[in-house]
């Protein structure tokens, strides 16, 4: 049986696993990004001339702490984190999604914070001088201007998640990891190498689909005046 025959005879399963892989990453990145962006916005500081006792000090503390914490989480080996969640969320999709979501937090939060704080001071000052309230400035000036940076963070975290999702197969998470784990555990047996090869190649396919998706999202959501 050559590789093309293998692909042809297993196309149903491969297609299903690829779709599952795509979806689990999409959900995790979606949820993780929403949490991170919301956190980044809620904890954004940098108001000029703050009163002595301000929420800003508190927010800055939580934000920096959150960054350290999510960074620490990102360094936990994925195999371990999937295993650690087993007692709480059990085998299957839930554990896979929860753990993947945790891995997406740091990159998006970091980029959200960076994007929001690097908006040109002159732009923010003039907005304030024209009577923009803090919320209005955050949502109509800072967020749109930070969006390309945030979107890049989401893109990076998506690529990372595609490969981490493979490990999710150890807790019976959905996706192409099943092919890889199966193939590796039977290495030397019939089609085992094809399984590994397919798992790898179709991860690339998933990545390619996401890249196209993000190119379109970027085109549609980055304001015209700041497109490069």
């Amino acid at each position: 049986m050559n590789y093309l025959d293998y692909l042809a005879s297993n196309s149903q399963q491969i297609l299903f696993l690829t779709q599952a892989h795509f979806l689990v990453v999409l959900i995790a990145v979606g949820v993780g990004s929403a949490i991170s962006i919301a956190l980044g916005l809620a904890l954004s500081t940098g108001e000029p001339d703050p009163p002595r006792l301000s929420f800003d000090w508190f927010a800055a503390g939580i934000r920096e702490g959150g960054l350290v914490f999510t960074a620490a989480l990102l360094t936990v080996p994925s195999l371990a984190l999937f295993a650690l969640f087993l007692p709480f969320t059990g085998l299957g999709v839930t554990t896979a999604v929860v753990v993947l979501t945790i891995y997406t937090l740091y990159t998006v939060l970091r980029n959200t914070v960076a994007g929001l704080t690097t908006v040109d001071r002159a732009v923010l000052e003039s907005a304030r001088g024209l009577g923009y309230s803090r919320i209005r400035r955050l949502l109509t000036i800072q967020l749109p201007l930070a969006w390309p940076v945030i979107l890049n963070g989401i893109r990076v975290t998506t690529l990372i998640s595609i490969s981490i999702a493979v490990v999710g197969a150890v807790v019976q998470g959905p996706g192409l990891g099943i092919l890889l784990i199966n193939g590796i555990s039977r290495i030397g047996a019939a089609n085992s190498f094809y399984q590994v090869l397919t798992g790898t190649l179709f991860c690339l396919v998933v990545a390619a689909v996401f890249e196209i998706f993000f190119a379109i999202v970027q085109r549609l959501t980055v304001p015209r005046g700041i497109r490069v």
Binding site: P48, E125, S126, L130, Y132, R136
Partner: protein, 373 residues
């Protein structure tokens, strides 16, 4: 100040009868963590329709003062009155929507089109779309940019000078009575800056706003200001019209700040249009001579090209140089030095001669009319 009413109208020596649009009463700012006030016990009244230039070395409190007027910086103590109304404790964001604000780098929103940038304040004030669009076009015209070309562009497609024009247009959008300008022309090249300043004065002639304008450039302060407020480390050292600041500095600090060359700088205060010039003849048959009138040869369009006769001088050896009547004596002197000529013809917009200015006039004292006649 012991007024109990919020409707105080303070008479000022220069603005005969004009009420004060902006009044700062005993305003002080001490930044957190600092013991030294950035601005201490400041009393300042800006008459309606005047341009007041706040000037001083960096760290003198001029920008802090400006930003306390629209409460971008909250004063530690004191009162701020706007058109007689105490605004020290009103909602800051709402207050700022009714005060124009222009900063150095323009501060345009890069993701908004030019028309949207100009329309930000009207939009917040709830104007309808049609009215906002018309207002944007009107203001683009006012600042000399063609609406059909510029309204849909984005800030990054504009030059620094154009961006600054949009910054001014945006500040004027909701027609606020008061404008605050924080070194608006500071980051612009000298030639463009000069043109923007001229345009700014032109616009001010039509809109007549009350303007507080921060600058570090004395030349700019003298050129644009009806009054100049000189600051030093949080204190107001002198508050007077430009002529007085230059010729009669109140103390050593002001005289050091004004520096040498005050007499030369004063030349830029004297506008040629307000000067009594010597007559000039351009008639074909005129010979001048005995009555001391200068006679110039003109070309087909009435522009003087050379001297036929000069009183008490050699007309043949003297190049004919011209200066527009919209300029100042400073410009005339510049032209004379540049052309090695001791006499200059003052011309109107069409280039026709209106009169002449002699080098000796500078030494004998210039006969001018009142500056704000």
């Amino acid at each position: 100040m012991s007024d109990t009413s919020d409707q105080t109208v303070v008479e000022t020596p220069h603005g005969a009868g004009k009420s004060d649009m902006i009044v700062l009463e005993g305003v002080e700012k001490i930044y957190p963590g600092s013991t030294q006030p950035a601005v201490s016990q400041l009393d300042l009244a800006i008459p309606q329709g005047d341009i007041v230039m706040l000037i001083g070395p960096s760290g003198c409190g001029k920008t802090t003062t400006l930003k306390m007027i629209n409460r971008l910086i909250e004063p530690t103590s004191g009162r701020i009155l706007l058109d007689g109304k105490d605004v020290t404790h009103v909602n800051g964001d709402q207050l700022r929507r009714e005060i124009g604000y222009v900063i150095q780098q323009g501060g345009l929103f890069p993701h908004f089109s030019i028309a949207d940038n100009i329309g930000v304040v009207p939009k917040m004030l709830g104007w309808d779309k049609q009215r906002i669009r018309e207002r944007a076009d009107e203001l683009l015209h006012l600042v000399g940019l063609e609406p059909s070309v510029f309204r849909d562009r984005y800030p990054r497609q504009l030059s620094g000078g154009q961006q600054q024009r949009i910054g001014v247009a945006r500040a004027l959008a909701a027609d606020p009575p008061v404008m605050l300008m924080d070194e608006p022309f500071g980051a612009i090249d000298p030639i463009t800056r000069d043109r923007l300043q001229d345009e700014f004065l032109e616009i001010q002639r039509t809109v007549g706003k009350t303007i507080a304008f921060v600058t570090h450039d004395l030349q700019e302060a003298v050129k644009l200001g009806d009054k100049i407020a000189v600051f030093a480390t949080g204190r107001l050292e002198q508050y007077d019209d430009p002529d007085t600041i230059l010729t009669r500095p109140a103390n050593e600090f002001v005289s050091d700040f004004v520096g040498g060359g005050a007499a030369v700088r004063r030349l830029s205060l004297v506008e040629l249009a307000h000067l009594e010039l010597h007559p000039i003849e351009t008639d074909e048959r005129a010979v001048g001579g005995h009555n001391g009138t200068a006679v110039a040869e003109v070309d087909g369009s009435g522009k003087p090209v050379s001297w036929r006769h000069l009183p008490g001088g050699d007309a043949a050896g003297m190049p004919l140089v011209t200066v527009p009547i919209s300029g100042s004596v400073y410009d005339a002197v510049d032209v004379m030095l540049d052309g090695c000529a001791s006499i200059v013809a003052v011309v109107d917009e069409e280039g026709r001669a209106q009169g002449v200015l002699h080098w000796n006039d500078l030494l004998g004292g210039l006969r001018t009319r009142e500056r704000h006649s």
